[in-house]
Amino acid sequence: MTGQRASLIAIVVILGGLVGVSALNSSSPGDFGITLLSGLFQGMLLFLVASGLSIVFGLMDVLNLAQGSYFMVGAYVAYDAQHAGGLIDLTAVIPDPNLRFIIAVIAAVLAGALLGYLLERGLLRPLYSRPIFQLVLTFGVSLVALELVKFIWTTTPYSWTELFGVRESFFELFGQRFSTYRLFVVGMGGVLIVTIALLLQRSRIGIIIRAGVEDREMVQALGINVRAVFTLVFTLGCAIAAFGGAIAAPFLGASTTLGNAFLLQSIAVVVLGGMGSYSGTAVGSVLVGLAIAVAQDVAIGTDFAALPSITPMLLLVLVLLLRPSGLFGNSR
């Protein structure tokens, strides 16, 4: 297939370019390794937001502009559960910070799943006949989510202070200290990429999802309740985004800017990879993550302080200009 070959070449060129710029820019293998790891870290977090965005769009034709908010809410819930004070204070009940972090992540995932379920069932469902309003609605939900978070947790950003096992430790390579936690997140992301891929390939629900992306109506005509599948997929997508926020929080903290930043970045991922394409989303996440990390390196000590935040948008604009169907997208 020539289309596939073109995409592969494009991926290799972009990757090569990014790695090249990063290698030229770093003074030692250690520096280079740091950029690479932080790029992969960012990429995995992006994947956690973008995968839901992409699958939901492919299956339901809904671009969930509130997806970033679920990431943000996940970060806040995890932060709140881990630290003393706040809404739920677990420090007395579970003194062990490691165990508490696990509980915090679970709490965040449950919160994301619950809010996702409510959004799909309560608000999106009445609007399937009016798709443009679904877009408007998710936009509105993202605004409400942001204001609710501000109302509950104020606008002051929280930085993670309650350290625990993996979060504290470092490993050394090429004379540089690397954070084990970043590696841990990259590993978690990798595991999830593979798990979801297997689920899509092998399980019945995966077959239904892939079929639904192609032709929703025919899936219904086979006797499958597509609406129920919508709810499930939407809920899972939101839960995964909240999971992303929760495991990002020990590094990024919890702040009101998380939602919008991650939404725009993962939209760039999804468009780059090709709307609705799962492998495209996975590859796109890594590419955008690396691009941001390289941009951060390049921006240090120059006047382009805004470069890392603008990079995903620049990528998005470029993709839409050059190949709007994305790397793996079909030209539908």
Partner: protein
Amino acid sequence: MKTMQAPNQPTWRHWLRGNAFLFILLIGLILFPFIVGALTDSSPFGVPRGDRMIMRGESVRWQSVLIEVYILAILAMSYNLLFGFTGVISFGHALFFGVAGYVLGLMLEFTAIETGWALLLGALAGIAICGVLGLVVGLVTLRLKGVYFAIFTLAVAEMAFIFFGRWQLTRAEDGFAITELPLWLDPSQNRLNFYYVTLIAVVITFLFIRRLVNSPTGAVFKAIRENEDRAQSMGFNTLNYKLLSLTIAGMLAGAAGLLQVILNKKVGPELLGVSYTVDPLLMTIIGGIGTFSGPIIGAGGLHFLDVFLRDAELNLGGLVIDIANIWALLLGIIFILTVIVFPFGIIGTWQRWRARRKPPA
């Protein structure tokens, strides 16, 4: 469409009959500063002190509230042209609003051009650049599915927000003040003049959009909104029509941005902020998508609510909440509820109700 009745009536009288309500409203708005002035015993011109005017008193205060409504109404009407009449949804309308504002500000403050000319040049350049911007953004994305356009505008507006928020020349996120304005237009000296300028701008925008939408071109806009494929199969180049709609909407939004900069005498990245996208979207939906007066009603209603509630407090069983703190939250909730239960907005619902009560003969 032609009406059968009274073919001998002079057309202006006929026109007046169809627009009686609007005409009365317009006269009310023209007299408004003087009425408020008479009622509250304050001067619509402000209070003189030496050779300058101090903007103090109820009449002057209410003028600025209405000026804000007019500016938002122009912004909302431009949004409605694009979304309500052409069916193209943008999440970056603030882009036009802010860019025009910056262009005017740069022209007034950063060039040596004489003030009056700088104002004229800045306004023209601001609107022209918005038109070009609309054309470019549209050429890139309007060929694609609507969702790409929405995404693209969201990204471009965000990029502009970040860019201007960090641009040292324009004092980054602090922005800069407008110190040079022609005296006759300066809202802190002659607010009444500026009041009439914005009122005229609203009237012109309203009449222009109504004329445009009722023209053959507007018919194609609406056909695209209803079903783009069908409009295309009828032989229209829908891309060109969507580009036209976007370009005009961008220029009108730019005009609103110019007025906002003059009113506040300040330019800053908040002009590009998400609220200048959300406000027109919300005002259009609440007032009535695809109606002529809906955006104006929406702008007026929401802005007055904002003004009245800003200082109010909500007492929830002992827990006292400043409305100002949760205003954005309330707006968001109103937004969602409107989309779900009240999708035609105030004017749209009213029109439907009237149409049902009085079936066409």
